[in-house]
């Protein structure tokens, strides 16, 4: 019986070839490659919006012969945050999990790098905005794939009639549908005068000062418009600066024109404020307008979503991004990456945006002119400027540019709105700054 002997050189060459083939090969469905995939998506609050992502995933699963299980996890009661924490602790769970804003960085050590997925997506869809890079990248590594589902800009949503009547501002002329903004005069000074006029007219701006996301986001954008940051990108505490003082002075004036209970507002308060018809402006994605469309159509017909006012250091708007991450302990990483590619194709993104009534916002530069924002109404064109189609404002997030793990603490503890409230309640400026400095030093824990 003849036996062919394998030389050491042949063995090494064969191993290297097969390893290279395995690494470079795209995800190809095979009898054993398919397997199972579990996905934890964010449970959309727009009725029917989940169906779009389910359909896209099911179509992919059918093509790839993968058994998929989708769980829709709500953010009410922070159920999604609890799930992320539990799965990170147990080192077990969904292969793909939707993570809001700060969580890719918070779980950076446990997430599978997504550079290979992102390279292709960036080529197709264009560059992601700066906030997504800040929240989704660490040391050149993409921690997760930006999700259009749940991502949003929390810009002003104004009442056309009330702004004209009380402040003499035509928001449709500032931000015309289908055209670039003509909003050079839309500055923080104009904004403050409008706030005062609307307050006098009995329809104050509905801007909260509580500790939840909507309140913090507005404060973040206004602070950034003054160039005010509590911690810089290198992690140095920069609380005691003129920029922070100016931002606090501005907020002190603004608070006197806001509803007296603004300190107790949560994320639903501004929605209720707009829908009840009591206010001339709120800072929110189109969800408030969408609720008004259903419950108070006469209010919805007068709503116009537009850009933030500019401050001395620029025009900033809060952008909150969701991500889809894959744990490093996931059992089917290649299938996860494959479905994330499918979910991030332009047509899939458009389908999900339409299903959400224009609420969802992709981060890629080529996808800010989808039809849904041009056509949604009433009034027609109300959402045209929602996705920042003319790059009129810098998209950012409160507490940036601090290193994300520190910024998360500033954001979660609502340090900005607390500072504004303390100063408004009569605490001396230097005491407020000293308190904030102490808080920021505490956030440096590693």
């Amino acid at each position: 019986m003849s036996r062919r002997k394998l030389s050491r050189r042949q063995f090494v060459a064969a191993t290297a070839l097969s390893s290279a083939a395995l690494i470079t090969a795209p995800y190809v469905r095979g009898a054993h490659a398919a397997g199972k995939l579990s996905i934890g998506f964010w449970d959309h609050w727009v009725p029917g919006a989940n169906k779009a992502s389910t359909d896209i995933v099911n179509a992919w699963a059918e093509k790839e012969k993968v058994e998929v299980q989708i769980d829709y996890i709500p953010s009410q009661g922070n159920k999604n945050l609890l799930t992320i924490a539990a799965e990170a602790q147990a080192k077990s769970g969904h292969d793909i999990l939707a993570m809001p804003t700060w969580w890719p960085h918070a779980q950076a050590e446990l997430l599978e790098p997504m550079n290979d997925v992102m390279e292709g997506l960036i080529k197709q869809n264009g560059e992601p905005n700066g906030t997504v890079k800040y929240l989704g990248q660490s040391k050149g590594k993409w921690l997760a794939v930006p999700a259009s589902v749940g991502s949003q800009i929390k810009g002003p949503c104004s009442r056309i009639d009330l702004m004209k009547q009380h402040a003499g501002i035509d928001v449709q002329a500032l931000y015309p549908a289908g055209a670039a903004p003509k909003a050079d005069n839309w500055t923080l000074d104009t904004f403050l005068k409008a706030a005062e006029a609307c307050h006098k007219g009995g329809v104050p701006f509905g801007i909260g000062l509580g500790e939840t996301s909507d309140n913090v986001d507005t404060a973040g954008a206004i602070f950034q418009s003054f160039g005010a940051a509590l911690v810089d990108e290198k992690g140095n505490v920069t609380v005691k600066t003129d920029a922070v003082r100016q931002a606090l002075e501005f907020y002190k004036k603004l608070i006197s024109f806001l509803p007296p209970d603004a300190g107790a507002w949560d994320d639903s308060s501004n929605n209720k404020w707009l829908v009840s018809g009591r206010g001339a402006m709120v800072m929110n994605p189109p969800s408030a307008w969408a609720v008004a469309k259903r419950d108070a159509p006469q209010v919805a017909e007068q709503c116009w979503t537009h850009g933030f006012p500019a401050g001395p250091k620029g025009r900033y708007a809060p952008y909150l991004s969701y991500f889809w991450g894959t744990w490093s302990f996931s059992k089917n990483k290649e299938a996860a990456k494959s479905v994330l590619r499918a979910l991030s194709q332009a047509d899939a993104i458009e389908k999900m945006c339409v299903a959400s009534g224009g609420y969802d916002l992709p981060c890629y530069e080529k996808l800010t002119m989808l039809k849904v924002w041009q056509e949604e109404g009433p009034p027609k064109g109300t959402l045209y400027h929602y996705p920042n189609p003319h790059n009129h404002q810098t998209l950012s997030i409160a507490a940036a540019p601090a290193p994300p793990k520190i910024a998360q603490q500033i954001y979660t503890q609502a340090t900005l709105t607390k500072m504004c409230l303390r100063y408004h309640k009569g605490e001396a400026m230097e005491n407020v700054l000293a308190w904030a400095e102490g808080e920021c030093e505490g956030f440096m824990r590693s």
Partner: protein, 311 residues
């Protein structure tokens, strides 16, 4: 030969003795009680003891949970102004709520006790409703009543020219609101416990006190209260533990605001641990309840034990 012949019998006798001792052991009340409580013991071990030790372990790790840091997390907390604010508020919240729950429960229990037996059951059922509804649900209703902009209370008060009151927007009113809701939820528990204790006080004692010319206050002070002391102590301890560890009421009503002035241990631990992704520090905050409650438990249980020995 005889020995050999006797061997099987001895074995059988031993086996019979063993069987009978096993039988006796199984017949013992304590063994039966242990076996019956074993599922619960296992459940508690899995759901309480293991997580408690895991929390201890977590509290000794650094923020990224990669390094053992001993008691550094506690040291860090002791230097934080907000932590001491939370300690103060937790004590104010728990003590005030428990005192008022006990007082209201005691008064209502007396009223219910004096209702004729026929209609008493209906009142008992109705008064238990706040305690029976899941607090997360009932607190949502309270949230709407206290809503910053659309408060039903403020609407009603406006007819009398009062308000609007910032129920959840001002530190003092927000503390008042969370304590009020906690009292509303918890008072029926005290009421039902005190009612049971009142029913077990022998009628002869009141008759003897009446013969001695005691007025209603003296009857309460010298008869009712001494007879209820143990149940009052146990109920207070139990309620103190539950109130200290409260989460849902504060979380739903104020989420700790305004300016952290209603945060208690559990809500602040959640803010830090889950929302702030600093699980070790969150675990340290929640563990800080343990020594406070342990001291309270030692004093109260020692007192009960002492009275038991005296009796």
């Amino acid at each position: 030969m005889a020995d050999v012949a006797l061997q099987p019998n001895r074995g059988a006798a031993q086996a019979a003795r063993k069987r009978s001792s096993l039988h006796k052991m199984l017949k013992r009340k304590s063994t039966v009680a242990f076996l019956m409580t074993l599922p619960l013991i296992l459940l508690i071990a899995t759901l309480v003891i293991y997580p408690a030790f895991y929390a201890l372990h977590l509290a000794t790790l650094n923020k990224s949970m990669q390094r053992f840091v001993g008691l550094s997390n506690f040291e860090f907390l002791f230097r934080r102004e907000t932590f001491w604010l939370v300690v103060k508020q937790s004590c104010i919240f728990a003590i005030t709520a428990v005192v008022f729950k006990a007082l209201l429960g005691f008064i209502i229990a007396h009223f219910v006790h004096n209702i004729p037996a026929k209609g008493q059951r209906k009142w008992r059922g109705m008064l238990l409703v706040p305690w029976v509804i899941p607090p997360a649900m009932s607190t949502l209703a309270w949230l709407w009543l206290f809503d910053p902009s659309y408060s039903a209370f403020n609407y009603t008060l406006s007819f009398f020219g009062i308000g609007p009151i910032p129920w959840t927007g001002d530190a003092m009113w927000a503390r008042f609101s969370v304590i009020l809701v906690n009292i509303w939820v918890g008072a029926p528990f005290f009421m039902i416990m005190y009612l049971a204790a009142l029913k077990s006080v022998p009628e002869q004692l009141y008759e003897a006190a009446a013969i001695d010319g005691a007025n209603w206050w003296q009857r309460i002070w010298y008869v009712t209260l001494p007879m209820m002391r143990n149940i009052i102590a146990i109920t207070t301890l139990f309620s103190l533990i539950v109130t200290f560890a409260n989460f849902d009421i504060v979380r739903i009503l104020t989420a700790g605001g305004p300016l952290d002035h209603t945060h208690i241990f559990a809500t602040w631990a959640f803010r830090i641990g889950i929302e702030g992704s600093d699980i070790p520090l969150g675990a340290s905050v929640s563990l800080f309840m343990v020594p406070i409650l342990a001291i309270a438990a030692i004093f109260i249980l020692r007192d009960i034990n002492k009275r038991g020995n005296e009796a």
